[in-house]
Symmetry: C2
């Protein structure tokens, strides 16, 4: 099983409006609700790829109840559709309330305006309780762990460093996808992979040139750095070498969730023991298939299949 | 007791953001949740004025549960603060889910951008069940009824006409505050008071001049028409005469909920048997005190007290 951790899980709402006009009143034409937060998105993609996945992180309040009900409904639908690999809910209940995010989609321009609520306040006792539950999940045969997203208030800024160390002590490969100080601290705990985007990478290394920045992040502790560079694909720096990969064509679409799909690609390749260039191919193909999906955060299967054979991987040279 | 009906009740969320930028991502600094929909706002103001109030309308799903919990918490807080008149929850449970509204407050400009979800679909059986419950509430000593806001999907467009007739049959004065076709139909059932704003009044009468439009609305069936005209105060047309009332000064503030406070003022005056000009004074004073309140939809008590003696009521002349 692959374990994904989403400390700041959310209930994601999408509102479709004919046209967004600031300071006006809008009738929302369509409301979509689904489990949100990076690790939950990663788990959804892994499930669709056929990997058994367990999700954990904090959940609470009425929004938490809605989130868990949606996870259960997704699993039931997956099984009803003939699927076998479902997402198992191992979320940790807290007293605070799971946050919402609201994405307002302007149907005229296609653009999205995003509002993210702050997360629930986590008490020191809840953090300790979560750590115990996390150790137990690691002991239940996790093949890989992904630590994803921002930290809710109250969680120590070194939280990811602690979770990375626990996974490494248990001998389980661990991927970290966060930014800012939690990423900086997490790097020092020597995760197997970090997956920053170009901006996050520049933020912690002070270097805008991706290969130079990726090597700097590697020196700070990551065994491998997989940087997502938007339309320019991905750059991977490992102890065995460096590669870049991109799709052979420009893809129009919605990039929401493309980074999370890249994480799912890397993790699935890691769990299967694929060589690094193949993991990179999978990550880029899934990202591209996510951009092309009509539903934000899902991936288009035909695009994925096609991209698996058309993504170009090249050795990257030191700039 | 005063009964307020909110068929399309909502859970109102207010998001404060530093500055709203379309197509950007925003961290919400502060989230406020409260029971919403016009009739629930009217009840809150009536409760603060010391009137026993019962609320009904449709409620369902997780958001409905949150709404009811907030109503209960408000009542408990009111009692703890030494109050005696609370808002009694007589909402009618349905299978659909109570909608949300999201008001995004731009802290730089002070402006609000509003997103309103559609309401739950109400089945014919639920509508019949509600009618039975409504009749029972009318029989429990209601002194006045307010029918407020839009209709959720599935409810017949003539719903307010039906509810007006039931109240009149029971001998209970009824106020109608809605717009469009539900208002047009409701008027024909001869409510005691309708409270349109200038735009709603023009919409159903085709006349932009307020006094002419109010008289036209009266001819269509309302015994009295109380039109709220924003900063220009209110205009009241009854069978005994016509009056206008306004505050003696321009008030800066947030007009959200000012119309609902006007309804509360009219209803409270009706329940106490005050003469028409005094009901109008109360409505305008409460509206003004709501505009001046730092919290949207609440009223500023000192402003209310001051306005009660400074609102000017004049006989309105036929234009």
């Amino acid at each position: 099983m692959i374990l994904t951790v989403t400390l700041n899980a959310a209930l994601d709402l999408t509102y479709r409006v004919p046209h967004l006009v600031p300071h006006a009143s809008h009738r929302v034409r369509e409301v979509t609700e689904r489990p949100g937060g990076k690790g939950l998105n990663v788990a959804r993609v892994l499930g669709a790829l056929g990997f058994r996945t367990t999700v954990t992180g904090f959940v609470g309040g009425e929004m938490g109840r809605v989130l868990r009900a949606l996870l259960a409904a997704d699993a039931a639908e997956h099984i009803a559709g003939g699927g076998t690999a479902t997402v198992t809910d191992a979320l940790f209940q807290v007293a605070g309330r799971t946050r919402r995010t609201v994405a307002v989609v302007d149907e005229t321009t296609g653009d999205t305006t995003q509002f993210n609520e702050p997360g629930p306040h986590i008490t020191p006792e809840e953090w300790d309780g979560f750590l115990t539950a996390y150790r137990a999940l690691l002991g239940r045969g996790a093949e890989a762990v992904a630590l994803c997203g921002s930290l809710p208030p109250g969680v120590p800024v070194g939280a990811y460093a602690t979770l990375v160390r626990e996974a490494r002590t248990a001998g389980i490969p661990v991927l970290l996808d966060t930014d800012g100080e939690p990423l900086r601290r997490g790097l020092a705990a020597r995760p197997d992979i970090v997956k920053p985007n170009a901006e996050e990478l520049a933020g912690i290394t002070g270097t805008a040139e991706p290969l130079r920045a990726a090597r700097a992040a590697q020196r700070r502790g990551a065994h491998a750095v997989a940087a997502s560079l938007g339309a320019d694909g991905m750059l991977l720096v490992t102890q065995d070498g460096a590669w870049s990969a991109a799709v052979p064509e420009r893809l129009a679409g919605n990039p929401t969730g493309a980074g999370d799909s890249a994480v799912a690609g890397l993790l699935s390749g890691l769990a299967e023991g694929l060589p690094w260039p193949d993991r990179l191919t999978r990550a880029v193909a899934l990202s591209a298939a996510t951009v092309r999906s009509p539903v934000a955060g899902e991936f288009d299967e035909p695009t994925y299949t096609r991209m698996l054979t058309s993504v170009r991987v090249r050795k990257a040279e030191t700039p």
